[in-house]
């Protein structure tokens, strides 16, 4: 008891420290002088910044939701509980918080914070990045199960799921990793937050946004009626991180925590193609040599792919640098610098330069430095793409021993749908036959064997 109290002191102390940090805001630039035109500056209607305690409330709600989701998955094994938690997440993190702050965008803030000493990553952002990952390291993708509003929204529209062919699933499965690499790469230089700019659901939560992204969100939802969670499976960059963490998770979701009877009733229960069939770890003798040669070939190919990717990424750095506002402005300036003036007014680049109070030399020098960083980042990004492709080829060439149907450790969203397809689950819930056949475990025996 005493030890518990001591342990409780630390979070309390930490919370006190966090609350003590107050945000001070003041205009960064003085307002323009309108004294000549007698223009009355209108009163600002932008709402005040969100109170600090509300930001910490978001973190608390996230932590509680993650705990609840994990409890629903491992203790209650309740799809219904996750469904209602998902509805709450859509309401709170989606429509109420308007999709921001969100864990999906948080890797960009951290990447920028790591490379730009002038950018301080808010503690709430760090918490939104770290909490779901830490939970994934222990209990898999509880965040995806019912806490992420993006996933919950797609779960809600899933009407008649169709199985995506395995080859397409694997091929498109590369995209989240590449998106993750690109987003982190460009965020390190403060060029663009790709995950936020191209988030298809945030405009829906905000009931408005860029037409292209609203339509993309609607398209994802329409597709989501027949393909389970298309964004989570084929686009979500944070999902890629969670997938890697969940692959090495301490605990994993099982269709049944009891003995699998190999009834195959769960074979088609997963709408996300995450159910893995039993598999023999060793190939037939005739194929062993071939598969070994293939595996060795892919292992040798991996560094080649990474080097090729690095070279390509370096080439891509130039065009990608244009996403950085400094680089874009410098390029626009240089493009028209030597042209004869053709109009009375300044060019947009010159106006922007003037408004930014930058002189061309410092702008161009700074832009060149940023471009250099982006090109170097491009090498790393390209190598990452090569690693993802090579790693995927290797993983598809390795046989695993699997005796039961079981969810893929990384690909499972922990949605709890497959539980209901298992006869063991009915027995556990007491809705099976009064006397369970031999080999089936009754409710009383199942206690304490959930994980």
């Amino acid at each position: 008891m005493v030890r518990n109290r001591q342990l409780a002191r630390w979070p309390f102390l930490l919370a006190c420290c966090l609350f003590a940090i107050t945000a001070f805001a003041e205009p960064r630039f003085p307002p323009p002088d309108f004294s000549e035109t007698q223009h009355q500056l209108p009163v600002a209607t932008t709402p005040a910044a969100r109170a600090v305690w509300l930001a910490y409330l978001d973190v608390a709600v996230l932590a509680a939701s993650l705990g609840l989701a994990t409890w629903f998955i491992y203790k209650q094994r309740s799809r219904r509980g996750l469904f209602w938690l998902g509805l709450f997440s859509i309401a709170y993190f989606g429509f109420w918080r308007k999709g921001c702050i969100c864990s999906i965008g948080s890797p960009q803030n951290l990447a920028l914070g790591l490379f730009d000493s002038s950018y301080a990553v808010p503690l709430t952002v760090t918490a939104f990045f770290a909490l779901p990952l830490v939970v994934a390291l222990f209990a898999g993708r509880s965040f995806c199960a019912g806490v992420c509003p993006h996933g919950a929204l797609q779960d809600l529209v899933l009407v008649k799921p169709a199985q995506v062919p395995a080859w397409l699933e694997h091929g498109l499965g590369l995209l989240p990793f590449i998106f993750l690499g690109a987003g982190v790469w460009l965020a390190t230089t403060g060029s663009i937050f790709l995950f936020c700019q191209y988030d298809p659901f945030v405009p829906l939560f905000r009931l408005g946004g860029r037409s292209a992204m609203v339509l993309t969100g609607v398209a994802f939802l329409v597709l989501g009626t027949v393909v389970g969670r298309p964004y989570c499976r084929f686009a979500c960059p944070y999902g890629a991180l969670l997938k890697m963490a969940a692959t090495v998770a301490k605990w994993r979701v099982r269709v049944t925590p009891d003995i699998c009877t190999q009834c195959k009733l769960c074979e088609h229960a997963c709408p996300f193609g995450a159910m893995r069939e039993p598999e023999q770890g060793t190939p037939p003798p005739g194929q062993l040599a071939l598969e070994r040669r293939r595996l060795a070939g892919f292992v040798i190919l991996l560094p080649v792919l990474m080097l090729t990717g690095a070279w390509l990424g370096g080439l891509l750095g130039g065009p990608a640098a244009r996403l950085n506002p400094h680089v874009a402005l410098a390029e626009d300036y240089l493009a028209v610098k030597d042209q004869a003036p053709t109009q009375v007014a300044n060019t947009p680049a010159e106006l922007a330069l003037s408004r930014a109070r930058l002189d061309p030399q410092s702008l161009v020098t700074k832009a060149a430095q940023i471009k250099r960083q982006i090109v170097i980042g491009g090498w790393i990004f390209g190598a990452w793409v090569g690693l993802v492709i090579g790693g995927k080829l290797i993983s598809l060439s390795v046989r695993r021993t699997r005796t039961d149907f079981e969810p893929d450790r990384g690909g499972c969203f922990s949605c709890a749908r497959c539980f209901e397809s298992c006869p063991q689950e009915f027995v556990r819930r007491g809705v099976g036959p009064a006397s369970a056949p031999e080999g089936l475990v009754g409710p009383a025996d199942a206690k304490g064997a959930h994980v």
């Binding site: 395995a166 244009r322 020098t365 250099r372 492709i389 080829l393």
Partner: protein
Amino acid sequence: MSDTVVIAAPKPIRSPAELAAVWRWAAITAAIFSIVVGVAMVFAHLEHKSSDPWRSPELLKLKARLRDEPHNDALKTQIREMDLQLRQRYFHLLSLKASGVYLLCGGAAVFLIAAGQVRRIHRRPSMPKLNPLAAEQLVKARRESRLAIAGCGAVIVTVLFATAYGSKSPLPDDAVVAAKLVSGSEATAVAADCATDDELRANWPGFRGFDGNGYSASGSLPDSFAAEVALWKSPVPAPGFNSPLVFGAQVFFTGGDATKREVICLDANTGALSWRQAVEKVPGSPAQLPEIPEQTGFCASTAATDGRRVYAWYANGDIAAFSLDGRPLWARHLATPKNPYGHATSLRTWRDRVIVQFDQGEPEDRLSKLLALDGRTGATIWEKLRPVGASWATPVIAEVAGKSQIITLAVPWVMSYDVVTGAELWRVQTLEGEITPSPIFAGGQVIVASPSSKLAALRPDGAGDVSKTHLAWSVEEGAPDVTSPVSNGELLFSVSSGGLLVCFEAKGGKKIWDHDLAMETQASPAIVGDRLLLLSAKGDVVVCPVGREFKELSRAKLEDAFFASPAVANGRVYLRGNKNVWCFGVKEVAHVH
């Protein structure tokens, strides 16, 4: 016995098939409803875009018309009414769209619930079957997946290649190479779009000449300035106290008032009007002009040229550039100057840059600044805030130890800046009063004047605040009040507005002689060769030798009033009076560029 009406109770829907049919109809109805709302929203969205007040072609057309007819009140009313209508329509559609979103959400929710129920009712548990080909199928699926990965990899490589080679960037990723693209280094100097220093020195490209010192070593003055011997005189088409400038066969000056401000060009050979261009429709220039005293006017600032373009600056803060043949190039409104007497500082050029000393307000206002603009585009190359209030002196450019400095005056500082980067080089605290006389750079010294109180010489080779170390000399007697001093490097002359002409040693500041010219002097004097040229506000033109004794070589009386400094180029002298521009000197045709 009364009739009993038996109402049959509605038949409860019980069977799964009946329930499924009801849910199916609900789903279909909700789907149709959602599609209709969605289509309506798309139409509303397209309509919404067309009613955007910023994009309305009718409104833009009216606004363009207003630029040509700025005083058309009926047009203004029409614009306001149309703007109001468009805004009302815009916000009405916005509200419709917001309602549509809620309807769409409602329709989608009903559809999802109904479709879910239909699926729940029809759901049948799967019947597991033995699949003897499972192992082969797994191997096949893996093979196909590997091919898919390879295919995706190929697509990604192709996209990366196409993106990498599809774009060209003018920006190198080496900061040193990039800096050279825009720096004031030798490469830029070669590429600078302006006349050479020798060409400009042979002409009179700004206030008090090429370097702003009012000194032309190689020229000569005519023997007489009598009206009869004038080569030509040309009426001034628009008022202004600014001085003329000369480049080739063209004489430029500005003129105007609150209604219109112009740049005027005369043929240097005949005095005929070559062109005159109004500076109007300047982006960002407020319609309401500042109040400017008549004795300053809107055109007190002298224009400048770099031999390719002519630049003009007015008391309302508008600055504009024209080609030498009068084509408008660019115009900017820097800001409306806060200056109690009206803005009067003139422009200066360095290579193809325009140097703008924009001092205004009080020091604590932090409004004063020094800017270098790109002469070709008007873009700001650099801009430096100055810790001073309003001033009226024009900066000069001094070349010291191979580097060009901009020397500026404003109470209490004489400040020097690197012309390439705008970095402050040195400053001396020595000025007081309302600074009107401009500095000069002569005999390796910067000579500055506090009106009627002090004349001082500074060494321009310091760094930082050199107030205690770089003051060469100062005298309190004989300081000018309005006009700027002039020197040939050996002798220094100052003239007060009352006409007291004083000669000093340029080195040491020792007074040599003084003489009362008995004339009101508002125009700064000039030295041409070994002659000193002085003008009066009553039309006197006085020539004295530059010597250790006073002597009046000639005095002419013209029917005019001179507030502008003379321009001297190609053997001729150009005087801008309130009524006429006068030309004296050799009859040969002026050099044409």
